[in-house]
């Protein structure tokens, strides 16, 4: 809402009030603004009279004018506008004038001196949305009553100050100048000065109303005959411009002017095109209707239309129809002042068009104001369009116009605010707010005027009192509550700890977007899943909720890589989203990406380069951290097409697939990257025992090495499992210390060397005891698996 100072001052005394101060005070009571400005900020503009106008001999469009600007000598100004001519009064930017386009200086145009500029409205800086086409094409011609040499901006009323408010959606009352006057009055403790109208609410039986829907709450109509369509008086135009509305002609402007004053939108029909029967009904499904802007709209039965016997003539509360438009030859006007169901208007305008009218309708209209707006419009048409008001009105009214009564005690006010207001304080704020009340000791019975649609319950009233009294006066204190400890869920704790662990392992936490493109949603998929997509995405890139985090990590990798950032080792803990039947599921994943050395020293040749086994080490570290030692396995059996087919593994905990690890397929990323993903939700479901330390053996352990020769594609885990099974309780540790192919090993074979550690908790093992287990292992492995012992 753009609030014009001159418009507002019709309704409240603004003497001695600085408009910037007013804006700040409005903020402190909850009404934020975007900016405070003058309609026109240009300087040094005066009224001039073109005394002489000749064509420039070297130009096909320039004119050389002599202009009287009230100074001793005429000014020579070269002007390119097609509509410049002798004897007109114009806006002249003098030398030194500052316009949006720059400073005006004396200059020479095609050999002729120009001592200023004759301006169009666009050139002096009026915003585009309030200008007509001709305002940019030619200079602005002033009325003849403008006095030469005086301030042209003042004459036009464009020195008016404006506050551009960003109002909260509950304050429907502030979408009117009168509502604003009450609000400003509460700040400065001044009574608004609301003109009393002579309301004629007798019934005019010439108009027949047929209300077919309960979504029309009130419908009033009045006829004004023989209007003369012309330009509006300047004060109406400049106030509309200040309010951000383009002036059209006196009749249309009056409907907007009254809407701004009272907050109730009006619609003017050409009465001769409308006829005397007005039907208000819901639109038919797929009913077609052409609005004022010439666009054909397809309606549905939640839209409300105004119609005559021939069909719709207006889309109620949103826009009028082309078929009943007020045009330059319109003689007779039917004024509509109505109230419609806010939710319906909101639905329709969201679909079709949001307008000044719909904005007001959807927030609600004070039912006591509609008749006033109607009368005011008729009065103004009479005054500024020479119209003849016809007696009486058409009327349908189903609204409740009673004042609201809120009963409240001083105690309640103070207990909510945490303050110690006295009855004097409360009396004073209620007076400022123009709320009348009865008081009995500390009990108040407050009457809320119907203009305040937002004040309905005690709490609303308490806010009003606090707002005007000043919330800044509250002293903060901590609540006095029963002692208790704050708790977090195990999930919350595990996530926090997992993040810390991964940081200590050298990975940096990143946070990616949950929404992905369709294409990415199909990548790194272990299984099909029920996708969740948003109905109306902002872009194709942000359409589907992610089921995996790896593509986000790849995006972040690429972002950094393209900026030459090194050491991209990252992880994310985030949700995966999918449906299972009717159920919406969110599970927590942890994912990592390794691309660079974890430990480096270039000159010293130290490089811990990421490879599959480093990634695996990080994953294992995490699994052990989660208490799952000896309960997981890595199997190369998964099928993820974005992973290197020879360097990938599914991660299983007790046979349940809980994630994967692998090198990113060169088709996806040509640099060597390793990624992993673990489903933390599933991992957290695994029961984990509390820590109980094992007794540490006081006796020395014995290590024995051996190597087996196996087919190249045999996986080490087979041998390890067999060794474990065979080694029994004395075998404490198995390490793979060498994998070898080449000289002395047959083609197609490889050698895997193990170091086995034996110990007993209760004694030192003898060589015989160790050898007996060691030989059993060799025997079991070589007989059960297709392997042979390598002689070392």
């Amino acid at each position: 809402m753009k609030l014009s100072k001159s418009f507002l001052s019709d309704y409240i005394d603004l003497n001695g009030i600085d408009y910037n101060d007013l804006a700040e005070k409005m903020v402190s009571i909850g009404n934020e603004y975007d900016s405070v400005y003058k309609i026109c900020e240009s300087t040094n503009l005066v009224v001039g009279k073109v005394v002489e106008c000749k064509n420039h001999k070297d130009s096909d469009h320039l004119h050389i004018t002599k202009v009287d600007i009230g100074e001793k000598e005429l000014k020579q100004i070269v002007c390119g506008a097609p509509n410049v001519k002798e004897q007109i009064k114009v806006i002249v930017a003098k030398e030194g004038a500052i316009l949006p386009g720059g400073e005006i200086k004396k200059c020479t145009l095609k050999g002729e001196v120009s001592e200023g500029m004759i301006c169009s409205l666009a050139e002096i800086g009026l915003p585009n949305e309030v200008l007509k086409e001709e305002d940019s094409k030619g200079i602005h011609i002033l009325n003849d009553d403008a006095i030469v040499g005086t301030d042209a901006i003042k004459y036009l009323g464009y020195d008016d100050e404006v506050i551009d408010f960003e109002l909260t959606t509950n304050r429907a009352d502030l979408l009117s100048i009168i509502g604003m006057a009450y609000e400003v009055g509460a700040i400065y403790n001044r009574k608004p000065n609301i003109k009393k109208l002579n309301i004629d609410d007798s019934i005019n039986k010439d108009i027949i109303l047929d209300i077919k829907t309960d979504k029309c709450l009130m419908y009033l109509g009045k006829i004004v005959k023989n209007v003369q369509i012309k330009e509006s008086p300047q004060f109406i135009k400049s106030r509309l411009i200040a309010s951000g509305i383009r002036p059209i002609n006196n009749v249309v402007d009056i409907s907007n002017y009254v809407m701004l004053e009272y907050g109730n939108p009006l619609h003017f029909f050409d009465y001769d095109k409308l006829g005397n029967k007005v039907i208000i009904r819901c639109a038919n499904e797929k009913e077609k209707f052409t609005t004022l802007d010439g666009k054909e709209r397809i309606l549905n039965n939640s839209d409300i239309v105004i119609a005559n016997e021939d069909g719709p003539v207006a889309l109620a509360g949103v826009m009028g129809g082309l078929n009943t438009e007020v045009e330059n030859d319109t003689k007779n006007i039917f004024i509509e002042a109505a109230i419609f169901d806010p939710a319906s208007i909101r639905r329709t305008s969201n679909r079709i068009l949001r307008s000044e009218a719909s904005n007001r309708y959807e927030k609600g209209i004070d039912p006591n104001v509609t008749i006033k707006a109607l009368q005011r419009a008729a009065d103004l048409l009479e005054k500024y369009a020479s119209g003849e008001k016809q007696n009486g009105i058409a009327k349908y009214d189903n609204t409740n116009k009673e004042d609201k009564i809120i009963e409240i005690t001083l105690d309640k006010i103070n207990s909510v605010l945490g303050m110690n207001l006295t009855t004097d304080d409360v009396d004073n704020t209620l007076d400022r707010l123009n709320f009348s009340y009865e008081k009995n000791n500390n009990n108040y019975k407050v009457t809320i005027n119907s203009r305040r649609l937002d004040v309905n319950i005690k709490e609303d009233l308490i806010e009003e009192i606090g707002r005007i009294y000043g919330f800044t006066k509250i002293d903060g204190k901590l609540p006095i509550l029963q002692q208790k400890k704050g708790v977090r869920s195990r999930k919350n704790l595990v996530i926090k700890e997992v993040k810390n662990r991964l940081c200590s392992l050298g990975l940096t936490e990143v946070i990616g977007y949950s929404l992905l493109s369709e294409e990415k949603s199909n990548m790194f998929k272990i299984e099909d899943y029920g996708k969740i997509s948003v109905l109306d995405p902002m872009s194709e890139d942000r359409k589907i909720l992610r089921k995996q985090l790896v593509t986000s990590l790849l995006d972040i990798y690429n972002y950094n890589k393209s900026r030459n950032v090194n050491n991209i080792n990252i992880f994310e803990v985030g949700s995966s989203y999918f449906t299972k039947g009717d159920e919406y599921i969110e599970e927590v994943l942890v994912s990592g990406l390794l691309s660079d050395n974890i430990i480096t020293n270039e000159f010293n040749n130290v490089r811990i380069k990421p490879d599959f086994y480093l990634a695996k080490g990080i994953v294992e570290n995490l699994l052990k951290f989660l208490g799952l030692t000896n309960r997981y396995e890595f199997k190369s059996d998964i099928n993820v097409k974005e992973l290197h087919p020879g360097r990938k593994a599914g991660i299983y905990v007790e046979r349940q697939l809980i994630g994967y690890i692998g090198q990113v397929h060169p088709n996806v990323e040509k640099n060597e990257l390793y990624v992993f993903e673990l489903n933390l939700t599933k991992l957290m479901d695994k029961k984990v025992r509390n820590i109980k330390c094992k007794e540490i053996s006081k006796f020395p352990s014995v290590s024995k090495d051996l190597a087996f020769i196996v087919d190249r594609d045999v996986e080490a885990i087979n041998i390890i499992n067999e060794i474990k099974k065979s080694g029994g309780r004395l075998l404490k540790d198995i390490k793979v210390f060498d994998v070898y192919t080449g000289d002395n090993i047959d083609k197609g074979k490889k050698s895997i060397a193990f170091s086995l550690t034996f110990s007993d908790i209760s004694k030192t093992l003898t060589e015989e005891e160790v050898m007996s287990v060691f030989n059993k292992i060799i025997n079991d492995v070589t007989t059960k698996l297709n392997v042979s012992l390598r002689n070392m």
Partner: protein, 354 residues
């Protein structure tokens, strides 16, 4: 030559030779030569057997003196030689300590997580539980229970991503409020904070379509605005320093009444006006208010018995202000150069015991 002379000769010989010893090996060879099984000193001992008792005693004493003397000399020289050798080795091992160190790339938590951790720790210490809820939320919990019926104009405040008519990506962690109140079967007092991701249809330098919010809620008896203000003072001073002042600016949210935008006094200029606070001296930081009776009622609480306050703030905004980041998109592009800067203990007035 008398035995005594022979002993003296051997002694002189050894001392002479020991003077010329240069290495542990030479020393060892010399030891074998004289003290070994066939060594010259051993040889002298063999003369004992032909002597009578008196002479044996005399000669034995002489020999012992010789051995002690020689051994002491050997030990001294050995020690010296060893020291020399170690020093030589140490000299060789000297390095240039100014060469670059080996980099151990530790990871860092995302600034958003870091801020969440800090806030969680504070509120846990004040008895608040950490609560959470789904990001794919129902219209009921995200809006309707929060006093925002369908077709309410205030729905414009948050342009949402709908999944279908009834489900959407939550636009506010306030949805968790409603869930926790609803789920509380005893309808007893509540003290929670709820951090989490939220989604709104907006995107510019200060808005991302995805961001992180933290909601706080108390439902209890006799909770007033003064309690809200006091709590926010503790909260904001923890995040932005102990001199911060709080300003409650009336505003409108459907789920609270009264509602406020909350400003903190600018920590850069201490309220005098600077570029950070756009010369106002205040920085808008969060929204808050007294829980609307309709919300309490919708979630099964009797507003005549219970009151409460709620507040919500954007974590990214806090991170941007704390760490001086001026574009929210920086936090989501995850530029590691930025992330790795937020990776250490901070100074300032973190010592809250003072």
């Amino acid at each position: 030559m008398s035995k005594e002379e022979r002993v003296k000769n051997v002694n002189d010989e050894i001392i002479n030779k020991l003077d010329k010893v240069n290495s542990l090996k030479e020393l060892n060879d010399l030891k074998v030569e004289y003290l070994g099984k066939k060594g010259k000193v051993t040889e002298l001992s063999s003369l004992m057997k032909d002597l009578d008792n008196d002479e044996k005693k005399k000669y034995g004493k002489l020999l012992n003196e010789l051995k002690t003397n020689i051994n002491t000399k050997f030990d001294t020289i050995k020690q010296n030689l060893e020291l020399e050798e170690i020093n030589k080795k140490l000299e060789e091992e000297k390095i240039d300590v100014t060469l670059p160190s080996t980099t151990i790339n530790v990871g860092t938590l995302h600034p958003v997580t870091r801020v969440i951790n800090e806030i969680e720790d504070l509120f846990l210490s004040m008895g608040y539980d950490i609560a959470e809820g789904p990001e794919v939320e129902t219209d009921e919990y995200c809006f309707e229970k929060l006093n925002l019926p369908k077709d309410h104009p205030a729905r414009d405040m948050q342009d949402s991503f709908y999944i279908n008519a009834e489900r959407l990506l939550r636009t506010q962690t306030s949805a968790v409020q409603a869930r926790v109140m609803d789920a509380n079967k005893e309808k007893s007092a509540i003290r929670i904070i709820c951090p989490g991701k939220v989604y709104r249809r907006e995107e510019d330098a200060t808005h991302s379509h995805q961001f992180t919010q933290m909601e706080g809620l108390i439902v209890d008896k006799n909770i007033s605005l003064a309690d809200l203000k006091g709590t926010l003072e503790v909260f904001m001073r923890k995040l932005f320093g102990k001199d911060r002042q709080i300003r409650l600016r009336p505003s409108y949210f459907p789920f609270t009444e009264p509602s406020f935008e909350v400003d903190i006094s600018c920590y850069k200029c201490n309220g005098e006006g600077c570029s950070l606070c756009k010369d106002t001296g205040w920085i808008e930081i969060l929204g808050a208010g007294v829980v609307h009776p309709n919300v309490l009622r919708n979630c099964g609480y009797d507003p005549d018995i219970y009151t409460g306050f709620a507040f919500g703030l954007g974590i990214e905004r806090v991170a941007m202000l704390k760490y001086g980041i001026n574009d929210v998109r920086m936090l989501f592009s995850n530029d590691l150069r930025l992330l790795n800067e937020v990776n250490r203990i901070e100074g300032g007035d973190l010592d809250e015991t003072k």
